[in-house]
């Protein structure tokens, strides 16, 4: 039996990696990939807690299913927005999408 903490530490590491990617990267596609990493970390956390702490209800498992659903929708929309950005600015670099910056 693997201790619950192992899963939590793994998901924390994965989340931090995603956070670093979101903050450091310039390409919108790379930021999108980092967001995916963070969502994975959240899913691991949900499932670990569901399996270890409430095995009769497993609400966390249901939540993980919804996380995957929303992530799929998010990737589709983000792709459309990146395409639109690329068509207007000829770049997928988020630093150059600063029209609304004050």
């Amino acid at each position: 039996m693997i201790p619950l903490n192992n899963f939590l530490v793994l998901s924390t590491i994965l989340f931090s990696l995603g956070m670093y990617g979101v903050l450091a990267r310039r390409s919108a596609v790379m930021i999108l990939m980092s967001v995916e990493l963070m969502l994975q970390a959240v899913s691991i956390n949900f499932i670990a807690f569901a399996v270890y702490l409430s095995p009769e209800q497993f609400t966390g498992l249901i939540f993980a299913i919804f996380v995957i659903t929303v992530a799929a929708a998010e990737v589709g929309l983000a792709l459309a927005i990146i395409l639109r950005l690329y068509r207007n600015k000829a770049t997928a670099n988020v630093d150059e999408a600063d029209t609304m910056k004050w």
């Binding site: 793994l10 924390t12 790379m30 995916e36 399996v51 270890y52 702490l53 919804f66 659903t69 792709l79």
Partner: protein, 165 residues
């Protein structure tokens, strides 16, 4: 160390190596390939947690659809000369913030004792999962399908070329 733990450490190492590759690789296509590696390893973690259905969904949706979409985004937004600077000037700050988050979270996780922890993993069968999903969570399930449809329509409208473009 039981064989279960050995498998966990192998899968966890692959996940973290994949994640490191995603955020540190200088080539965007390599990043995507590392992402696939990491996502498949996470499916392995789900299997270790006895969540087989989630593992299958993970391989199908993440390993298949999401990575293909990301590769499409890369292909369609390719800049002629690859940018030499893939990370912004905020890189050191990002490193500090992520490191601080990692440190505090690991400290918090390891110093907490979780109440009511089971000592045996109960395998959740597909039947049980389906029962709960379609009985107790039927309305959120329907809303999720609506979200997917709205996202689909929105993506088509956003990505469609306007006249004269």
């Amino acid at each position: 160390m039981t064989y279960e733990e050995v498998i966990f450490y192998v899968v966890a190492a692959v996940t973290v190596i994949g994640g490191l590759g995603v955020v540190l690789s200088r080539n965007i296509v390599h990043s995507a390939l590392f992402l696939i590696l990491s996502l498949l390893a996470v499916a392995g973690v789900f299997v270790l947690l006895a969540a087989e259905f989630l593992a299958i969904v993970q391989v199908l949706i993440y390993g298949g659809a999401v990575t293909i979409l990301i590769l499409f985004a890369m292909m369609l937004t390719r800049v002629r000369d690859l940018p030499t600077q893939v990370d912004g000037p905020q890189k050191p700050v990002a490193f500090l913030v992520a490191g601080a988050f990692l440190g505090t979270s690991i400290l918090a996780v390891t110093s907490t004792t979780w109440p009511g922890q089971t000592d045996k993993i109960h395998v959740i069968s597909f039947q049980e999962l389906g029962n709960v999903l379609f009985r107790n969570w039927a309305i959120p399930f329907e809303v999720a399908s609506l979200v997917l449809m709205v996202a689909l329509i929105g993506a088509i409208i956003l990505a469609r070329a306007e006249e004269g473009e």
